[in-house]
Symmetry: C2
Subunit: 156 residues, 2 copies
């Protein structure tokens, strides 16, 4: 709105900064052979991890029901980012694993984020950026790898 309230700016700037980075990442990925990737996919693939996981476990990690996790896996499978294999040790379980294409998306994401961070460092100075990260780390204790973001966005 028009009325300037200092307290409003902090959350909005944090969100804008996040959106900027995510948008730039995906513009890059779309040009680098990943036209179908969406921001959510990155979170899910991070949650799947290098060793694979199951729908139930993925649901717990993402903060959604196992059914919702199953649907998400369906989507990623259709795009070619994951594949399901049955667990030889337990025929109830289906292990979801990243494909080479999926791992490529994660590798490229890491590289793009590093580039974007370097751009921030060039603009702000390396010291200021480190301070910014340190301050954010201080205000958001715990590991940054909380991947329940899909569940969180769900009830926005």
């Amino acid at each position: 709105m028009s009325s300037y309230v200092p307290g409003f700016e902090l959350p909005l700037r944090l969100l804008l900064a996040f959106r900027m980075l995510i948008d730039e990442l995906h513009t890059e990925l779309h040009q680098q052979g990943h036209p179908d990737i969406r921001p959510m996919h990155g979170f899910v693939m991070q949650a799947i991890g290098p060793d694979g996981t199951t729908a139930v476990e993925l649901g717990r990690t993402l903060g959604v029901s196992k059914q919702a996790a199953g649907k998400t896996i369906d989507t990623l499978e259709r795009v070619g980012y994951v594949e399901r294999t049955t667990d030889p040790a337990d025929s109830r379980r289906k292990i979801v694993r990243l494909t080479a294409y999926g791992m490529d998306a994660l590798d490229r994401s890491a590289r793009v984020f590093d580039d974007l961070r370097a751009r921030w460092a060039a603009e702000l100075g390396a010291d200021r950026l480190r301070e910014l990260e340190s301050d954010l780390r201080r205000m958001t204790p715990g590991n940054p790898w909380r991947l329940d973001t899909p569940g969180w966005f769900g009830n926005l």
Copy 2:
């Protein structure tokens, strides 16, 4: 997941910080007579503004179709945050205005965000917080009142 990639931390911390503020805001609001408010409502009510708006205009502001804006208005109307009145000057238009209850939600949000910012200042020091905000402002040029967040979240 486990492999530490510096570039990944920045966006994740920005998002975590945003989520923390939003979650704390809504915990507060739920206890202050707004049990039905959801994060999205704040954005929409900000977009409606003190003078009211129409569904088409709101859709443009939020970055969604006029039909989606209409549905959102329905929801907010049901909860009691907005009311529709017909424009006497143009009988096609229906002006959507915040109710007193809706304005109360915005007022309380502003106060809670100010409190949260004060808590950050107490933890980080006022100078560091101002630097953090200044750095974010520098990296996210433009006004922070881009309210197309609902549309943006839509295709996450």
